[in-house]
């Protein structure tokens, strides 16, 4: 478990360093996804299994897909075809591929030795998180829902294509 933590920590740092140095947005997004998966493995080694699942689902799933959608929307036109040709070259996806392959091997190794894991790690079930969330943190849940509603309205307003109304 300790070795898994250090391995995924190294992968996270390398992938993050590559994220902020890439010139192409799609390459940076691939490395950022690998970095988020590595942090999810760090959560798993810390005993926060529910948070590891949420990190994969929300961060690496939803938010990264949103980024990819916007990047693809902005690159429409004649540049898109030439860009696709560059993306399909193995040199562009080889780096993120190798790093995520390392993470996957590590994940399989962790699952293989999962029953041996003692009680040394504070392990929380999703049920406990839910009880805490809807018990003492109920007002925070309500505030988060209001925040999400505000973000929805703001994103819809900013993204609407019609000119005029409030644009100055």
């Amino acid at each position: 478990m300790t070795l898994a933590f250090y391995l995924s920590a190294v992968v996270a740092v390398i992938a993050t360093a590559l994220t902020i140095t890439r010139l192409h947005a799609i390459h940076a997004l691939l490395y950022l996804t690998v970095s988020l998966l590595a942090v999810s493995l760090v959560f798993y080694t810390l005993g926060a299994t529910f948070m590891a699942a949420l990190e994969v689902i929300i961060y690496a799933g939803a938010i990264m897909v949103l980024f990819v959608f916007v990047v693809m929307m902005l690159n429409l036109g004649s540049r898109a075809i030439e860009q696709e040709r560059r993306i399909l070259k193995p040199g562009t996806w080889l780096g993120p591929g190798i790093l995520s392959l390392l993470l996957m091997v590590e994940f399989g190794w962790l699952l293989a030795e999962a029953p041996v894991r003692g009680t040394a790690v504070a392990h929380f079930e999703p049920k406990e998180v839910g009880i805490a969330l809807y018990g003492p943190y109920l007002i925070a849940v309500e505030l988060a829902s209001i925040l999400l509603l505000g973000a929805l309205v703001a994103a819809y307003h900013l993204g609407s294509r019609e000119p005029g109304r409030r644009e100055t």
């Binding site: 478990m1 902020i20 942090v39 949103l66 980024f67 916007v70 925040l147 929805l152 900013l158």
Partner: protein, 102 residues
């Protein structure tokens, strides 16, 4: 106490946060700046989860859940602003918006 020392987790979170700050400072592309903000939020959440694991409290994970919600809301509004910027200036340079007048 977890077998991984909590100091090492904090070092990892600090390195990730520093990389996010470096990216936010170095890049002028709005998409990359948003990605750097995501990296920094993730590092902050890692700190919360590490503290919750260290003291065996569930509160750290609840805080990470709230950070996750905040990151989702922030990225939705940020990407809508990116679309707006692209539509108006045809570039994704953050310096292009420095001539805005209210």
């Amino acid at each position: 106490m977890s077998p991984v020392p909590v100091e090492h987790v904090l070092v990892l979170a600090g390195v990730l946060f520093a990389l996010g700050v470096a990216g936010l400072l170095a890049r002028r592309n709005v998409i990359f700046m948003l990605m750097s903000i995501e990296i920094m939020l993730n590092a902050a959440g890692l700190c919360f989860v590490a503290a919750g694991s260290r003291w065996r409290q569930v509160d750290g994970q609840v805080m990470f859940l709230l950070i996750l919600t905040m990151a989702a809301a922030e990225v939705a509004v940020g990407l809508a602003l990116v679309l707006h910027l692209h539509r108006r200036f045809e570039v994704l340079d953050a310096d292009a918006a420095s001539e805005m007048k209210g």
